[in-house]
């Protein structure tokens, strides 16, 4: 579906091999779905157990087969009811390990992430797993997403999984909530410092900060602005820091400040933009920010001059700049 180049389609022996592999995979999935139609009766007989291996192999081949994961949940729950606690615990670990294998090869398979979360989160499952073992697994869970994010720092499944697991952990250890949020913020900050352009990490910073810091303090906002300035001074053409900057000054954080503080911060940032633009006059996002700041400061006439530059430099978005120009006129009248 994605990224299959034209003209790279194999031919001859290679084509035969691909066809065989495809047919084998389809056959695995067909067999697994066929088995799914059987009514589950405990104890599961030997022939079922043998055939059940096919489900695992089918999911390793294609972890998007959501019905097969549901099948595994049903079998697992049935065995929870009847098998010994030791067996259930080892089954549970095997299920987790199966998702690890699937995700290593297919890091974007929704149903595999879902299955993993279900094993950790579901209340019925929790009834059958010793609480220490469960807690230990949840605590070490962030290692998996850490590994996935090390391989791809933008994998939004990995990021979302971290959030979901953190919620599970907080529900088990409510007294550790603020510590857990602080640790997560430290992880995110590490990711940003590794790579200022990691947009995902900036996003998660915006989510976590309000949970960790008192946002109504001016000190907080000033420090945050210092931090983001370092980022866009280093890489002025990377949009992450600029979106974040705009949020600090036009979104919720600035709205919490008194009007005169807001104005002073806007003026400081305008100065910072101007300094950057002296060195990098074509830095588009700096110009966009400058126009925005001037508009917020009700200096529409100056904003229009900046918009002239933007229209010339970034003609694809002239519709947006036309809109901004309209805002300038509103700001004249104000």
């Amino acid at each position: 579906m994605h990224g299959r180049r034209k003209g790279t389609r194999p031919s001859g022996v290679e084509l035969q091999e691909e066809l065989q592999q495809g047919a084998a995979a389809a056959e695995l999935i067909r067999k697994a779905l066929q088995l799914r139609k059987q009514t589950l009766i405990y104890p599961l007989d030997t022939s079922f157990r043998e055939k059940y291996l096919v489900v695992e192999r089918a999911l390793e081949t294609n972890p998007d087969e959501y019905t097969l994961w549901a099948f595994r949940r049903e079998v697992f729950l049935l065995r929870c009811e009847h098998d010994s606690p030791e067996t259930v615990l080892s089954l549970w670990k095997e299920e987790l390990f199966l998702t690890t294998r699937a995700l290593q090869r297919h890091p974007k398979a929704y149903p595999a992430w879902q299955h993993r979360l279900w094993l950790l989160e579901d209340a019925e499952v929790a009834n059958h797993i010793p609480s220490e073992a469960r807690l230990e697994a949840i605590k070490s869970e962030q290692k998996l997403s850490q590994y996935m994010l090390f391989k791809d720092g933008r994998n939004f499944h990995g990021w979302a999984h971290r959030m979901r697991v953190k919620s599970v952990l907080i529900s088990v250890l409510p007294e550790h909530e603020s510590q857990l949020e602080r640790e997560e913020l430290a992880f995110v900050e590490e990711k940003i410092n590794d790579d200022f352009s990691n947009y995902s990490a900036w996003h998660h910073r915006s989510v976590l900060l309000p949970k960790v810091h008192d946002q109504s303090s001016e000190v907080f906002l000033t420090e945050e602005l210092d931090y983001v300035r370092q980022a866009f001074y280093t890489e002025p053409n990377v949009q992450s820091a600029w979106f974040y900057h705009r949020w600090l000054l036009a979104g919720a954080p600035a709205r919490r400040m008194k009007a005169h503080v807001q104005t002073r911060l806007l003026e400081d940032e305008l100065m910072a933009c101007n300094e950057l633009l002296e060195i990098e006059p074509e830095a588009k996002y700096a110009l966009q920010t400058k126009a925005q700041l001037l508009l917020q400061l009700k200096r529409g006439m100056e904003a229009e001059a900046v918009i002239d530059d933007l229209e010339r430099m970034d003609p694809m978005r002239k519709g947006y700049y036309r809109y901004l120009r309209g805002q300038c006129h509103i700001s004249y009248q104000a």
């Binding site: 959501y66 939004f156 998660h204 949009q239």
Partner: protein, 323 residues
């Protein structure tokens, strides 16, 4: 605007769609998409409907297949005959029936009642009984209910509150509250707000920031990406554009450049569109390419509705006051 608008090769695209059925059984390793075949049927039929050629495929055969994915015990659709019911496919099933004006073939009261049972106290929706939460499912739920004229069976205000909790620092939306913005999720969330008649629940500043984030998805090649610093892809022509359309800011991107990009992703020999120039066509990107071109006013194509993802004549039929 017309400068970069060449004629679409409608006959080739129709032939490509009609030929898909045979193709799945030969070369392409389509076992990867077999579990969502019903959505594939929706993309194929919608592509034909956009080209005003819905009639070229046999309606009876298709309806037989679609109903073979309907599980009357839970009044929901599955992704293929052997698969489990899931909200994603209930939407595809309902959309297909709406296109054929055959909604009476399912029990609308029960379909929507079962969707309502998937709603959580915080307003979010699970995709099925296993409880995965995602704003994609909110969109599926609201759209199914709208098409079946039973929105009142859902807690729409709670759904709106949950969607608004998913709005991020950049104005975009993610799969759950706190998750990163992604153009596909933006489409689902803006679509949900649109269907709930709640677009005004976003502040003007939030809407503006969102539209700016969306128009920044356009890259110098003219194509759109789904998140910052990602590659362009034809499918975002739909997700980004339809969102901008609902926000009233389609003119914030360069239509000519996008049309040219989609044109370069067109296979003018075998028909269909790929994710980007030089790649192989598939039905998914063919639909999103045509849908994007329709939103940009292509006269060879029928008009598509940005929230319903159906041609506007179908939307008119399902939304007009009943007699």
């Amino acid at each position: 605007m017309a400068s970069s608008r060449e004629q679409l090769r409608i006959d080739k695209h129709v032939a490509y769609i009609v030929g898909l059925e045979k193709k799945t059984k030969t070369t392409d390793a389509l076992y990867f998409t077999d579990h969502k075949r019903l959505s594939g049927v929706y993309w194929a039929l919608s592509s034909l409907a956009l080209m005003r050629k819905l009639h070229v495929l046999p309606q009876d055969t298709i309806l037989d297949y679609v109903l073979s994915c309907y599980h009357s015990d839970v009044a929901a659709f599955s992704g293929n005959t052997d698969q489990d019911p899931h909200l994603l496919y209930t939407l595809s099933g309902v959309q297909i029936l709406a296109m054929y004006d055959k909604l009476h073939l399912i029990d609308a009261d029960r379909v929507v009642a079962n969707i309502a049972a998937l709603q959580r106290p915080d307003g979010s929706f699970a995709g099925d009984k296993w409880g995965e939460i995602d704003t994609r499912f909110t969109y599926c739920a609201l759209l199914c209910a709208a098409i079946l004229r039973r929105s009142h069976l859902l807690d729409v205000p709670a759904a709106v509150r949950y969607v608004l909790r998913c709005q991020n620092f950049d104005g975009g939306f993610g799969c759950i509250a706190g998750a990163e913005s992604h153009a596909g999720q933006v489409f689902c969330c803006v679509g949900s707000l649109y269907l709930a008649d709640a677009m005004d629940e976003m502040t003007r500043e939030d809407r503006e920031r969102l539209a700016l984030w969306l128009c920044e998805r356009q890259l110098p090649c003219g194509g759109l990406n789904g998140r910052p610093d990602k590659l362009e892809d034809v499918c975002y022509s739909w997700w980004v554009l339809s969102s901008l359309k609902m926000l009233g800011h389609v003119d914030w991107i360069d239509a000519d450049k996008l049309i040219a990009f989609i044109g370069r992703s067109e296979d003018d020999v075998d028909g269909g569109f790929a994710d980007r120039p030089g790649d192989m066509s598939d039905v998914f990107h063919t639909f999103f390419a045509l849908a994007g071109l329709s939103l940009l006013g292509n006269k060879q194509l029928a008009d598509i509705h940005p929230a319903y993802a159906l041609t506007t004549d179908v939307v008119q039929r399902v939304t007009e006051p009943s007699a």
